[in-house]
């Protein structure tokens, strides 16, 4: 028997450009971003939302969400949650501030030690999830409350207050400020955090789409048994992502403490859900295996626009979270709908 001629099944329709587009995880978020942007540009009462100054404002609000939301998205694609990411931003900022003010280490050594600490937290999260086999939701929830307690308790013991202040008196603060908390593009004053956000987006997108590790991220979240059977190191992949998420939280903590020159013990608590919202709005499946870094970046943009846009529209900012809730639900609904259409009704 020779090789049979490859037969074309007449029932397989050539995937159109539209189908290919619909298959992208971030499409729903992109549509949402356009809608939200238009909404706030129209209802803006200050006349600045749609200007470069307005952009500098909302990208600032978006960047501090996006820096952590992107690794959270990668982790979610790999099928895991990290609920401790928000409070770890606080822990990192507090640690960095305390090392610099209470132990006079100088700002750069403090920053390096903060990253080492965050990596250790990520490693503990990852190891506990992998070793116990418990859901990461539970393990990182426990880490969330533990860190929250430590943040408050330790800060009170060491400073007798609930904040660390005077970070700007540490050695090397000026150079750290240039890297983590400066501005650029003079009259509009974009925050440097926006650059960090874009860098994280580019690196994450590259890793996800163009590297072997990116392939593994999708595989361990899509079907960890199949991944293991084909020789993917499931454990290593997931633990690496937990560490990456913690490092991103530390980066944001360092940015915060240097920008404000101080840190509150309660900083970051509740933010973990903002990151998850950004990732989910951006098209990540809660069950893993699907999503993108650009999607999370668009999700973060929507959240940034909402925070700034509601204030610019003269509405009471108390309503911001209602808006986020509605956006989350609508985005997931749209994503599920187009996802189902594009995938051919299969998961």
């Amino acid at each position: 028997m020779t090789t049979p001629p490859a037969k074309v099944d007449e029932r397989i329709v050539q995937a159109s450009r539209l189908t290919r587009l619909l298959r992208r995880p971030e499409l729903g978020a992109l549509i949402g971003a356009v809608v939200v942007y238009t909404l706030f540009a129209v209802s803006d009462r200050t006349g600045t939302f749609a200007t470069i100054t307005g952009t500098a404002n909302w990208t600032d609000a978006a960047s501090v969400v996006g820096i952590v939301a992107i690794p959270v998205a990668l982790l979610m694609i790999a099928g895991e949650f990290d609920l401790s990411s928000g409070v770890l931003v606080g822990s990192s900022g507090l640690l960095c501030g305390m090392l610099a003010t209470q132990y006079h280490l100088g700002i750069w050594p403090s920053i390096i030690l903060t990253f080492v600490f965050a990596a250790a937290i990520g490693l503990i999260n990852g190891w506990l999830v992998m070793l116990t086999g418990l859901p990461s939701f539970i393990v990182t929830l426990a880490m969330f409350f533990s860190l929250r307690g430590i943040n408050l308790g330790l800060t009170k013991v060491l400073t007798d207050t609930v904040r660390v202040a005077g970070v700007d008196k540490a050695d090397g603060f000026a150079s750290a400020q240039a890297v983590f908390a400066s501005t650029f593009w003079a009259p509009y004053n974009f925050k440097i955090a926006v650059i960090w956000w874009l860098v994280v987006t580019v690196i994450a997108t590259f890793v996800l789409t163009k590297t072997r590790f990116g392939n593994w991220i999708y595989a361990v979240g899509g079907d960890s048994n199949a991944a293991r059977n084909t020789g993917v190191p499931v454990r290593r992949t997931k633990i690496t992502l937990f560490v990456t998420t913690s490092l991103a939280a530390a980066l944001l903590g360092v940015i915060d403490v240097i920008r404000f020159k101080s840190m509150q013990a309660g900083q970051g608590v509740g933010e973990e859900f903002t990151y998850i919202i950004a990732a989910v709005v951006g098209g990540c499946l809660l069950t893993g295996g699907f999503g993108s870094a650009i999607g999370a970046t668009i999700g973060a943009s929507i959240i940034g626009m909402a925070f700034i846009g509601i204030a610019f529209a003269g509405w009471n900012t108390d309503w911001t979270f209602l808006f986020l809730g509605v956006i989350l639900f609508a985005a997931v609904l749209v994503n599920t709908f187009i996802g189902r259409r594009a995938q051919g009704a299969k998961k």
């Binding site: 090789t3 050539q14 789409t209 072997r212 392939n215 595989a219 899509g222 199949a226 299969k346």
Partner: protein, 282 residues
């Protein structure tokens, strides 16, 4: 089930000696008097079989016959309690499926072979992604991956227009085909297929059987595990019947008809009794 001697023209169950006499080539994979027990349960008793390169070896058995245990021993998940496993004539012990894979023994499990939401080509290269670039900064060679994937699938006679589509959108038969093509491409010398047709319709099964023959013609020793004697007879060269943990019959393609195989498999007398009971004509 008692001794399985089909009525009518009796096939001559070839003894192990007779089988080795015809086989001048070194078997790609061989079991010698392998037994496996789990605690007090003897799952496999004194199994001896061999898989020659470029042939399809079928292992037939009903539920609970020990097929799964046999697969797990062949693929390195379990180690035999006694007896030997030989790869190309060399005695080997595998500590993990990864080691078996390294020795060229690939196993395609029924439902555990692919990640549904990932594209076809990403699934094809999963765990063995081609890379390019300098040391320390390597990235996926996706152009080469797509090209190779398309060529390999074509060589197996499967033409997918769109390699970017999630593999979950393919039919069960096509997914099996991709998994088989993948194992072949990554240098499998022995391909173990665990009930590849059991969940498929008639046409889909035909597709998979075609790929089994393709793999065989590329010189691979295929182990086809099934409880369907019709499918086995269409592609098989040698047939082992497994019953209650022991091999009860061994047939060569030339000396067995499909009906004999069906009867031997079902236990001829039992099947006739059943047919009578049901009032069937045949």
């Amino acid at each position: 089930m008692t001794d399985t001697q089909p009525t009518g023209s009796t096939p001559t169950p070839s003894t192990p000696q007779a089988a080795t006499a015809t086989a001048t080539v070194v078997p790609a994979l061989q079991l010698k008097n392998v037994s496996k027990s789990f605690g007090s349960v003897l799952a496999l008793r004194d199994i001896s079989l061999h898989v020659d390169p470029g042939t399809v070896t079928c292992v037939l058995g009903d539920n609970g016959a020990g097929k799964s245990t046999l697969i797990k021993i062949l693929s390195g998940v379990h180690q035999p309690s006694s007896g030997e496993l030989l790869v190309k004539g060399q005695a080997r012990t595998f500590a993990s499926p990864r080691e078996a894979l390294g020795a060229g023994i690939a196993t395609v499990y029924q439902d555990l072979a692919t990640v549904p939401l990932m594209s076809v080509w990403r699934n094809f290269f999963l765990g063995n992604e081609p890379q390019r670039g300098i040391r320390g900064l390597k990235f996926l060679d996706s152009a080469k991956a797509r090209e190779t994937c398309r060529a390999e699938l074509l060589a197996m006679g499967i033409d997918l227009r769109d390699l970017e589509q999630p593999i979950g959108t393919l039919s069960g038969g096509e997914r099996q085909a991709v998994a088989i093509a993948r194992a072949v491409y990554f240098g499998a010398e022995v391909l173990i297929l665990d009930e590849p047709t059991s969940a498929l319709g008639v046409k889909q099964s035909g597709v998979v059987l075609k790929y089994i023959r393709q793999a065989k013609e590329r010189g691979i020793g295929v182990v086809f595990i099934t409880h369907n004697p019709h499918h086995a007879h269409m592609v098989g060269d040698r047939f082992y019947l497994l019953n209650r943990g022991a091999l009860t019959n061994e047939f060569e393609k030339a000396t067995v008809t499909r009906e004999q195989l069906v009867k031997a498999m079902a236990g001829g007398a039992e099947l006739e009794a059943l047919a009578h009971e049901l009032g069937a004509d045949r």
